[in-house]
């Protein structure tokens, strides 16, 4: 997650290296799957179903409509949680970046909650909403909101002074500076925060559903785990990975739209 911002490629060797990395990745993935398949067939243990069995189970689950039903519930919670996280996160983060007093007042708590294990708040939400989607949505927000706040506030704070000074010298009001200078300039970092938030929200969704265990994909994982049904657990995990990757892709496309005007080097993707 944090690493994505750190990964720097050697200059000059960009395109050829990327394409060979991708094909090597396919090789690695295929090799892993074959080892899994052959190993599982050789050992023939209940606890390690071969890959083909997991895929068969996945198809079966998909055809019976179980995946679609759970997925619909899960994604609904996820969408609501993300919506709240983004609006609250961007507003609070901008306030912290814009007013130093707000930053001092909230900064320590936001940073503490960003690093603390979010699931530990589940019992508290449980006491508010009980076995309800409210608990899960609240947990998703706890997972996702703080990284948006921190990234947004850092983004607003790290705007080059030259930009704002230039605007002020042309008689821009503080409000104009905020909306026309600060917000666009902060957009790349804000979107990087959004990308991290999506990944964390998916984790919060699954963990919340596992903790409360009445709805969605998380319940499917817990209940099939209890029945020692490893194939189902793995099939559901494949769905979760697919959902996460598709969501990341969507965020990336949105990011392109928002930051497409920037020169290549200023983008964080």
């Amino acid at each position: 997650m944090t690493s994505s911002g750190l990964v720097a490629q050697a200059p000059g060797s960009r395109l050829p290296a990327l394409s060979s990395t991708a094909s090597l990745g396919t090789v690695g993935l295929l090799a892993g799957i074959s080892v899994w398949e052959l190993g599982a067939r050789a050992v023939d243990a209940v606890l390690l179903p071969p890959f083909s069995a997991v895929v068969a189970r996945l198809v079966e689950l998909a055809l019976s409509g179980q995946i679609a039903a759970s997925l619909a519930v899960s994604l609904g919670n996820l969408a609501l949680g993300l919506l709240i996280s983004l609006s609250v996160g961007i507003v609070l983060g901008s306030a912290m970046g814009w007013w130093r007093s707000v930053d001092y007042a909230l900064g320590p708590y936001v940073n503490a909650l960003l690093t603390a294990p979010s699931l530990v708040f589940a019992p508290i939400f449980f006491s508010f909403w009980g076995v309800d989607r409210g608990s899960i949505v609240a947990l998703i927000v706890t997972y996702a909101v703080f990284v948006v706040i921190v990234n947004t506030s850092v983004a607003v704070k790290s705007i080059p002074v030259d930009l704002t000074e230039m605007a002020v010298s042309y008689n821009a009001t503080r409000r104009q500076v905020f909306w026309f200078i600060v917000m666009p300039a902060a957009m790349p970092l804000i979107m990087a925060g959004v990308r991290l938030a999506v990944g964390r929200a998916v984790k919060g969704m699954i963990n919340g559903e596992m903790f409360i265990a009445v709805v969605g994909l998380g319940r499917l994982i817990v209940s099939s785990g209890r029945q020692l049904d490893v194939a189902t657990v793995l099939a559901v995990l494949i769905v979760v990975v697919a959902v996460a990757l598709v969501l990341m892709r969507i965020v990336w496309l949105v990011e392109q739209r928002f930051t497409g005007w920037l020169p290549e080097t200023r983008r964080t993707g």
Binding site: G5, L6, T115, P117, L119, I124, S127, V222, G225
Partner: protein, 281 residues
Amino acid sequence: MTGGGRALAGGRRPPIHVPRPPQADKMRRHWEWRRITHPLIALALFGGAWELFARQSDSLLIPSFGETLASLVGLVISPALWYALAISNLALLLGFGLSLVTGIPLGFAIGRYRVLEGLVNPYLTIFLTVPIAGFIPLLLITLGIGLEARVAIVYMFAIVVLVANCRAGVRQVDPLLIEMARGFGASELQIWRRILLPASVPATMAGVRVSLGHAVTGMVVVELLLVAVGIGRLILELQSQFNASGVYASVVVVVVEAVLLISIAEWVGRRAAPWSRYAGA
């Protein structure tokens, strides 16, 4: 998590010798009293609002701010809390230690050798996106519900981001430096010792810090979700006794532990690499 350690660092930064972009100076602020008074005011406002809300709703499940504070004091002086923390942290210690020993070399190797990176990359992507908690049922089936399973889960939570950061640390080294060293006849071992290892210290330490956070998460997640021991068990027991203020207080304890551990990791990181400010981590 850019700037995640800003407030935790307590405002003291080691002298920085590398030239930095002008806007960075705006981020490094001088000490002000507001740094202490403002958080306290915020806490007082929050506590006051909570107290009012709790009295208004008058629910058995929602304790007041004062009750929670009283419970917190009670917990801290009770041996049960420390016993629970000891059980939980044993798994944390073993799992995190194991991930340091294996994850750092693995990340370095992936960062240095492109073929290896290509082969491992898809798995890294998958494990960075998938909620690790989903694997807990599988690990319990294979390893039982003992210490081994908890250690394994902490390990899985911690290692992924550590590998990713160590890889990035080695990868961001300027290839010209390596070529130059090679041109002067440096061996692979010398390149590692003189260039790659020192250059990757900041990213590695940032990885250690983030992965410690993940390890604490793993410790709590497994105890809350499937194996009720240690601090997770304490929380669930208090919850089933409708001891709401106890639940809230133990949540505070977990958050404080996580923040403390990460601050320690951050301090160690700054000692190990005083020239860096964890750029980008």
